[in-house]
Symmetry: D2
Subunit: 313 residues, 4 copies
């Protein structure tokens, strides 16, 4: 069983990610993680924080001579912005209470500020917003990068691309690129539709100039996944449920769709199922072919720009 | 911490639901559970199974003299169809192996049949489909009914209604009824839009006559929920993520939306947030008022008719 | 991951045990479980309850035609005493409140009565003692019996015998019997020392006549366990810790020792370690031989007679 | 629900401890943790490592201006020895493979070396022993120190003292000192018996000179614990079981006793129970008085010198 825990405030000293339960003997170097942290920081119109940070994961444990040990893998990711925030975010009390002087007393809608202030009885929204921040996904990406390295051993790949942004839908290509992430990363908006991309950029610029933000939808595509991950036997072992929990736990995500998703609810049963290719040889060998893919892959929809990452299952 | 476990095959002797961690002293009688089991079995166009079953929950533990004890609450729900299936579903081996003679060897698309057969190495799809069945939600409804009784102590209500069925959208009333469930239960399709209902019924009849099925979308509305359930501090404590996992673990559900859901991704930030009413008196008292409700409530979309229930958090 | 949940009060309608996560395809019949339930009910000087009960497990789910399905295995064990307790233990409220009339208002020392009454705010100790009862271990034995059946596939056996009772130590034979449980079951006290047994019986008779009870120590011996169960990597994966939790959770158990246990703390390091036989061929093959066994096997000590069973790890 | 995770190899860059689920608003400074880390490093005859390390916990998250935030508390404890081990323990692969050149190929008895090598398929025992080390308890002590700070708010104290070492029993004082830890810390062996202490020291010196080690027993005493921690309702909620798991998960611990422990199994029932003082006023107020304390407090026995710490429940 894989478990992961993240810690860290947005402007605190550092983020920490511990992945527990990984096998021993997996080849793993910091560059495997840093490559994903770099990808997380790209994107047109990302906030200023993204420019300041250039994240690097330092293995504190669980890895030796380029191989995992089976023990918990702790990764430390310094917040480079920390130097500017030491007074306000110092774990220790300070003379003159500088933290309190800069308290954020006006909770923002669309954030956990108010709920967190009431739940944890805080007067300063900063005590909440520092943790309820997109920055926290950095630690998830680090754990996810190790998992991605693990999946590579089984030729399982996970890619994603943006299919909607700010009111503009991207056309899905007839044939998905062999390396989806490489193709998406080549676009500043991670979309495969160059025409839509132009319009998306124009809308981002317009939104920015009016002090607004835009939402978007990313589609995640997995390849090489063996049949039988998750299980039908108990509610909390279902793969769909676990994926939904992982995606919906990302602050900005407000919808998760699998396969056709909402659209599927508007169709007849005959138009949503994926007919099984009854080739017996394939089936016996565990190679399942279906004549369509309406129930697979998934999408997460978010009303604000966000990072996408995956919790290990 | 509440935990629940369900057990039972669709045509086996019985379903079992164990809810662990409930407080002591909660008034609880079997009728509280049976009322929800009855509601689960209603609905226009439900399958034949629904007619055969008339579910009743028997408390085997955890309740005494009409009050919970704090110990695990085990509920037994007999499968009234069991008498017709004893030969095929007998836990014990039988002379002549009647189970094998009636083996289901053709896995159905849109079901867990094939994945389960490969994962668990079963030749008979029945070994899978008996558990990967909508019937399993009966045991969830039983656990959920106890939780609903618990929430009543805090004036927290959870209601739902159908907002889409078979291509027909229902209009949401300007003002939601005080008792949403009572209003929805009055409709054979649990919709609040009488005009849409007629069209939905016509489409169900048409689908039935052509041997097809239809999908639908249910909206769930909670009232009286205190601010601060769940938490922003860790990915697996987020309320949104837990709700999504619970809903998406229902076999037929392929999409979960919270608040505006997918629609939110198509709007500008200024059109998705719920402005906080800055009345200080209210806030200090934990009474939060917002000027809209775009981030709250949630919907689950399913390509086939299904039962809705909730996992305790 | 195996999980198990038990439910049921001592004089309620029934006990329920759900074992979740078992593999599919394991041969399993009710007799496998009943044999262990029978063994649990033996023993010289056991209480009257033991005579009344003759436990039988009914599979409600997870087993079909003598094979596990991979789905949750629910076992129902009727309390045969229930017919005498229906008035007092009825889950439903009754006219005249017969339960309250027979309330147990004097909490007993050495039991959970008082702690439970205060924690759960109960006036009637019966609301606590019905669950905090040795009877609950019946449901554990049922789950353990399925696990034992599973371990048999790997030639892993778990046996036990009584090494101390009421002040009398039993001598451990020079060579443990090939089938430890069969040998121990042949003794009314499950001890391998016939001389000690006589003295133990005399002390039980004497204690009984003075209205007292005696404590005892059982030793558990596992055979065929592969090296590497549990793990050193995290505190909650350690096998010793998991065994200790399972044993100490049995109401009457107040001490758990592994290998030499307490005695080990009185020895020098050179007298507690088990030297590894450095045969390289054996080691490469995972066949580890040690020249002693001071760190293995385990014992649970209890101040009152109790049943021993194991939680699945 | 409190959860904690530790990470870190003995000679790696650092140890990390994450405590998740702590309340917000608890006063907490690094000195609270460092004081416990210092106590852990004391003791007559401790290994050389103890001298080299002078542990300090750095809060990376969860604490701001001397108060907890409710978010995960990550603590970083540098391994001061790391500078001497960079070549051998470097997470990154190095030219010439210096780690492999210094491989530990001879697994030690009494350690996890062999089991770990077989389970995780490692040729170098260092890949195992670095994690299966008493050093790991440092990270537990850090998490425990935060919990201790939390318990102080409720006037709950946990103290310990050594009651046996190397064959020498310490006499327990008639009256335990008000501040048990302060009294025990004043002794180099943490024992309250000055006479026994001299003999213990002599035995340690003798064992050292012959290259041997000694075992010991520590007794843990809690004060101010409210009635009702843990629960009787399910096996994995029992306080005894959770304590046993936490203690037995410490590498060197091979026995856990609660109250009279093993001795209780040798007594009659009338000599093990703690009679309840039937003062009704006290009881209604939740103030329980008993006339003895045979079932409370607990002891952990270890065949080698070790650190004691507690896992949060």
């Amino acid at each position: 069983m894989l478990r992961f825990t993240t810690a860290g405030e947005s402007h605190g000293p550092a983020l920490v990610s511990i992945l527990e339960g990984m096998v021993a003997g997996l080849p793993l170097v910091a560059a495997d993680v840093d490559a994903e942290l770099f990808r997380r920081q790209q994107g047109y119109g990302r906030g200023r924080r993204m420019k300041i940070e250039s994240d690097h994961a330092e293995f504190l444990s669980g890895v030796r001579a380029g191989e995992t040990l089976g023990s918990p893998i702790a990764m430390l990711i310094q917040n480079s912005d920390w130097k500017n925030w030491q007074e306000i975010m110092d774990p220790a009390p300070r003379e003159g209470d500088p933290a309190r002087k800069r308290a954020v007393t006006r909770p923002r809608p669309g954030h956990a500020d108010l709920a967190g202030m009431l739940k944890y009885d805080r007067d300063d929204a900063r005590d909440v917003l520092e943790r309820a921040s997109a920055r926290e996904t950095t630690a998830r990406v680090a754990a996810g990068a190790v998992c991605r390295r693990f999946l590579r051993e089984f030729d399982i790949t996970i890619g994603s691309h943006v299919v909607h942004l700010g009111g503009v839908d991207a056309t899905r290509p007839d044939k998905m690129p062999a390396d989806l992430n490489a193709a998406a990363d080549a676009s500043p908006l991670r979309t495969l539709d160059a025409v839509a991309e132009k319009e998306m950029i124009a809308r981002i610029d317009a939104a920015k100039s009016e002090g607004n933000t835009l939402g978007g939808i990313a589609e995640v595509v997995c390849d090489g996944v063996p049949v039988g991950l998750g299980s039908h036997v108990s509610w909390d072992r279902k793969l769909d449920g676990r994926l939904a929990a992982a995606l919906m736990s990302i602050p900005a995500v407000k919808a998760v769709e699998i396969g056709l998703g909402v659209e599927g609810a508007r169709r007849k049963g005959s138009d949503v199922h994926d007919e099984i290719d009854p080739d017996e040889g394939n089936m016996k060998a565990g190679r399942v072919r279906r004549r369509s893919n309406r129930a697979g892959d998934w999408r997460a929809a978010s009303p604000t720009a966000s990072s996408w990452c995956f919790a290990p299952l």
